[in-house]
Amino acid sequence: MALDALLSRCRAWKHRHLLGMKDLSKEDILRVLSVAEACDSLRDEHPLKGRRLFNFFVEPSTRTKTSFALAARRLGGEVIDFSPSASSLTKGESLKDTARTIESMGVTFTVIRHGASGAPHFLSRLVESSVINAGDGANEHPTQALLDLLTMKMRLGRVTGLKVALVGDIAHSRVARSNLWALKKLGNDVTLVGPPTLVPRDLDAAITSDLDRALPRQDVVMMLRLQLERMQSGLFPSAAEYVRFFGLTRERVAALKKGAIIMHPGPMNRGLEISAEAADHPRSVVLHQVANGVLVRMAVLLLLSQVAR
């Protein structure tokens, strides 16, 4: 598709920041997906020439940070990287001052990952650039949900009327929350699966602890990373017991319905929430998810650039 046609599709966009799927309408989400699909055919176009993206990752990340950088460069933009260990954040400079200092160098997009839920919202009240949430605490990771939706659309042909199970550590998962809000808005049937210690009762979805019963009904099974580093002790007794009840083992893959796909936001704990057989199975779309990440991030940058100051 020609760049002009693509940009004209971006004009209806209204949001200056991308803080969460909670803030997007169904139409907004479908627009991102359609622009993302069109981005695949862009070659040597530089609509973001002269624009800078500030990759502000206060928590470690490999794929998301690289994916944003790649997306910006493919559109002709520049990338400023932030590495916490070498920065003044460790010298006690506040989040506010660090962001504003970098921003004074002329930044269009601030992509932030932070351990505190709400950090991007806080930042969006203080800076002039467009803030993109690349993961905040246990709140949201909107571009992950968007790339998951794009993957479902490409593999299953639709993003509505699907049965989707999110399995594992829902309580600490921003991926689960962003997917939940987005999937519900698009009219999908979402089931949260996990032990009661890892699944909040108050979320608006079907909840079960019986993975074996839930599995055969699903079109999509999304395994969540068991976040050992965030877990306080006592939320489950042992890794072996977790695998017994909630691991996607070879046997459980065999119980999946025809055409169902296996997803995982990565990084995977092979042998824990997902077995090697499941991760590498033909039904697994894990690598497609990664590739689609660049496309949805290109789409998000193009859309926000319509409104960015």
Partner: protein
């Protein structure tokens, strides 16, 4: 010195040499007359839960700024919690606080001593010597007394002194890392929650320890419906328990947190609508005796951070009266009682909280019809973080008289 407050409701008040001399219709000469027509004349309000921060954290608040804020908000007296920068856990701390209050010359300060040395929750502080110096109650507020044995001994020992233990009810094992109320909103926002049970379970422990020891326990800042229930049942059983609630827990819910703004972060946290209704009902029927602000000033730099990093606590002295007067479902008489006579009763301030001959000359004049908008930049407190910023309120204090002297 004779001061006459004339024309207010319920009547004229004559203050002579710092004490109330006559109430009702007063004729005769006065050194100074205050026109109170159209105003409510009530006993000097007492906020029994205030953090003055001094000594040690004068960047957050000082005795002078805190008592000026109190007077501006209509309070003739405040009970100062012990968790100042340097904890008030000995007679020296009590004496210092009273000296600073005298020097400031604004609202009265009633020192609350620590329950445990250094607020560490391990060893009993010198409660008796603090009473000698002028302490009116004991509390490790800011922290719970997690050790039940220490709480038991504190209640037993303070019985000898005739002073209450003010309890910050929080099971710290259940609240580690918490940012807000646990419930639907925290689940949606991905924030760690502070469940109602963390408060109610400790309140239940405390009332049974009061029953065991015969001591007087006062439950601070009640926020959960379950806690109201615990207090109500304990009172029916004749246990010596009293309680307080804050203006913010009487009005706001955890829905406020949806924008992740630090001015809504305080502990205990804002709860659900059902909890707010239960706390209002508790105040209305007297289960909750007092209304107190938990005025907890922090610096701008501290509050202007992401929610998980910023300290909990908001200011309350300069908004409490307007907020409380706006609450529906509690009578005006009960509101004034909860802000004056009730805290005086709980803290054993026998000559305060009433407008009667012989009582201290502490009086608050209220304009119940004054409409105003909360503007933190005008606060006399050093703290500026309030959940009521920008809110339109009706009713405010126009004057405070402390010991027969006009203080605002």
């Amino acid at each position: 010195m004779i001061l006459l407050i004339r024309g207010g409701k319920p009547g004229d008040v004559l203050i002579k040499d710092g004490k109330i001399a006559k109430v009702g219709r007063v004729s005769g000469r006065a050194d100074r007359t205050v026109d109170a027509r159209g105003l409510l004349v009530v006993p000097g309000l007492i906020d029994m839960h205030v953090h003055l921060r001094e000594p040690g954290r004068e960047d957050k608040e000082t005795v002078a700024s805190g008592t000026a804020a109190a007077a501006a908000g209509g309070f003739a007296g405040v009970a100062a919690m012990a968790n100042s920068g340097i904890p008030c856990d000995s007679a020296v701390g009590v004496v210092y606080l009273l000296a600073m209050a005298r020097e400031a010359g604004r609202a009265n300060v009633f020192p609350v001593g620590a329950v445990s040395k250094g607020l560490k929750g391990e060893e009993l502080a010198e409660l008796g010597r603090m009473v000698d110096a002028g302490a009116v109650a004991f509390s490790d507020d800011g922290n719970p007394v997690m050790n039940s044995e220490l709480m038991r001994r504190a209640l037993e020992y303070s019985r000898m002194l005739g002073k209450p233990i003010l309890s910050h009810c929080e099971d710290a094992h259940l609240t580690r890392g918490a940012v807000m109320n646990e419930g639907r909103v925290s689940a949606e926002l991905g924030l760690r929650g502070w469940p109602n049970a963390a408060e109610a379970a400790m309140a239940a422990r405390d009332v049974y320890l009061a029953a065991l020891t015969g001591g007087h326990v006062h439950i601070q800042h009640v926020s959960a419906a379950e806690t109201v229930d615990v207090v109500r049942r304990a009172k029916r059983l004749g246990i010596r328990v009293t309680a307080e609630a804050t203006p913010h827990h009487l009005t706001l819910t955890d829905e406020c947190l949806r924008g992740y703004e630090s001015r809504y972060k305080m502990f205990p946290p804002l709860r659900s609508r059902a909890d707010v209704e239960a706390v209002v009902e508790g105040v209305a029927d007297g289960t909750i005796d007092a209304i107190a602000t938990d005025h907890a000033p922090h610096t701008m730099e501290e509050k202007e951070q992401e929610l998980a990093a910023c300290p909990s606590g908001v200011v309350g002295l300069e908004t409490a009266l307007g907020v409380v007067l706006s609450i529906k479902g509690i009578s005006l008489e009960r509101k004034i009682d909860a802000l004056s006579a009730a805290p005086a009763r709980i803290l054993g301030l026998k000559s305060r909280g009433r407008l009667e001959p012989g009582a201290e000359g502490d009086v608050t004049l209220i304009d119940p019809r004054a409409a105003w908008t909360v503007d933190p930049s005008k606060f006399l407190s050093r703290g500026r973080s309030t959940p009521f910023e920008g809110m339109k309120l009706v009713g405010r204090a126009v004057r405070v008289i402390v010991g027969g002297r006009e203080c605002s």
